[in-house]
């Protein structure tokens, strides 16, 4: 892993954000924001930042030809019943490193919140309409029941295992917390070069970040900031879970976690907490949908209760991660992981 670096550099960033509401199939643009700013950063005992805003006016439908077509397809594809809040973001950063050529980093994201609950975020690309509809199917499962599922093994499906490990391993690694022992078959990496929400050819220190093996005690290498006003902090980019020779079978009964509404790592208690938006209890050939609930476990219990993996690595539809008030998108990729219930 590369050493901590703070080379002098500067960057310019712009961000356009639209908020839409789609009711009964009819889209309406509610809010339109644009901001641009530039910052010069210098190292030393303290990082010094001089930043200023730059005039930048928002233009509706200013995302460009293909992005507009994809978004129109997405709006058409949404169910005609219910209402949906969509947010479309375009962000561009030009980083001028201390040495070398400027690097342009751009991201286009779309996020959705359904009136039925749950939120999703995707890179705005050609796969969005299909992936979004798959995820919406999860939100429409029902009717939800309140069931006592304590003691039942858990299958973290659909990439949710990456979010579990984002909280249980990623945040502690960012904060340089004491390492704990993880199963030998499990490898969790932060991969800035991976194609995902956190793809990062150059970080906000103007440095090419390297892959970090979090299960090996390494820390995420990239420094990221949310805006031109903020200090870059060590942050995850794309959290990727890989497994080796740990095939598991789906237990019966089991709790299948399908979609999450948020999570956190409580550093003081060393406890992981996840808000589960959609899950189902599978017993025999039948499945019952659970009402949203909060799942908690000590970090050491998470590590000790993982049993194995099933299926391919899949992308979870998005994590917006807030640290020190700075919100950044982090990619999340994992196979289904199976664990004994470590407690609630």
């Amino acid at each position: 892993m590369s050493q901590y670096r703070r080379p002098d550099h500067r960057f310019v960033m712009s961000r356009t954000e639209e908020r839409w509401i789609v009711t009964a199939g009819r889209p309406r643009l509610l809010e339109l924001r644009a901001e641009k700013g530039e910052a010069a950063l210098a190292g030393g005992p303290a990082t010094r930042i001089e930043a200023r805003s730059v005039a930048f006016f928002p233009q509706p439908a200013g995302f460009g030809g293909e992005a507009e077509r994809i978004f129109a397809t997405l709006l058409d594809a949404l169910p005609k019943s219910g209402s949906f809040h969509l947010r479309r973001v375009r962000e561009e950063r030009t980083i001028f490193p201390h040495e070398g050529e400027p690097v342009l980093r751009s991201a286009r994201l779309v996020s959705l919140r359904a009136s039925a609950g749950g939120s999703l975020i995707f890179p705005l690309d050609l796969s969005v309409p299909e992936r979004l509809l798959e995820a919406l199917d999860l939100l429409e499962m029902g009717p939800p029941e309140r069931l006592d599922v304590r003691g039942i093994p858990i299958a973290w499906t659909g990439g949710t295992a990456a979010v579990l490990l984002h909280e249980a391993l990623g945040h502690p690694a960012e904060a340089d917390a004491d390492p704990i022992r993880w199963p030998d078959w499990l490898e969790v990496l932060d991969e800035p070069e991976h194609d995902g929400l956190g793809t990062m050819p150059v970080d906000d220190h103007g440095v090419v970040p390297t892959r970090a093996r979090l299960t090996g005690g390494e820390r995420p290498d990239a420094f990221r900031c949310a805006s031109f006003r903020d200090v870059p902090l060590r942050r995850m980019t794309n959290l990727v879970v890989r497994t080796d020779q740990a095939p598991a079978e789906l237990p019966d009964p089991r709790l299948e976690v399908l979609l999450l509404a948020g999570g956190r790592w409580d550093a003081a208690a060393d406890v992981v907490e996840l808000r589960v938006a959609r899950a189902r209890l599978v017993r025999g050939g039948s499945a019952r949908t659970l009402a949203p609930f909060t799942w908690r476990a000590p970090r050491t219990a998470v590590a000790a209760s993982l049993r194995g993996a099933i299926g391919p690595v899949v992308a979870y539809p998005g994590v917006i991660c807030a640290v020190e008030g700075q919100r950044v998108a982090v990619g999340s990729f994992s196979p289904t992981l199976v664990m004994e219930a470590p407690g609630w």
Partner: protein, 317 residues
Amino acid sequence: MSGSYRKEGVSTIVSLARGIESVARVAEGGMAGVREGRFFAASLDPAAGPEATPDPGPLVDLLRTIGRSLPGDVELQRMTLMAGASAHEIDFEPGARRWNEAHCRLHLTLRSTRTRLEVPLLRGGARTDDLELRELVEVAALLARPRAGVPRVATLELAPAVMAELAASLAVVLDDLPAGVRLRQTSHPAWPFDGAGAEIVAFEASAGGRRPNVFRPSYRSPAVPAMFHVEIPVGGEEARGEVAAVEPIGSARWSGGSVRLDALCAVDGGGFAARIEIPAAGMARLSRSPGERQWFPLRAGAWGTGAVVERARIRPW
């Protein structure tokens, strides 16, 4: 509402987060409004650059003073100290006007290296001189002298920081304001106008009542109805509680006719974290405790005056 709101500001932010010290000098301009039925916001070129921001020297000195004042087994987990000035312009009625503001914020988290308990503190004012650091020293001392167990008590003293948090939590549930619990909007001499340029006028809240003022936390956010500089009135004879809730740990939440919050508490010079539950009937009959009224930068502002409550339940955290 048509027309636009413009803001221009400079600020210096000294921070310590995850072991990284930084000094940021930011000059920023922006405008917002409603056009064709939709909210818009745009950044602007500020007239002055980062060189116009407050001198970071005194802020760095204050940060170091705070760091040096901590006992050996209490550490500064994170800290942000910000000082700045802003100019606002509204070009639509009823508040068409220009005005200037100054502001200062201190946000830090203290952590006991022995118990790992973390306590966040949020303080604010118009100038750095307004920041009250005496309580910071008191919180650090309590973290350094942890006390085991939670005593059974009949009376609980609520420090101004706790009372301000309770007032801010009531402003959120105004539509369901519990019977007998009082909340009022007051004014602050440093910030007399709201997010639409209208004067902030004192009034007593009622359940489901109107909020005549609007809050605009940033030019990037639409203005929303809010109560400003909220306060829970306390009066009567001065009293003292057997245990004091000194500093909130997280937000207070109203549910089922009572309010719950976690707080760092003090008894006999020792500190402990507790879960506190106060029924609305208890919040409706508060006695004043000694000490000065203080302002806190919670949501659109909150005042806290020390009080004693008789019907609180406290449990281990």
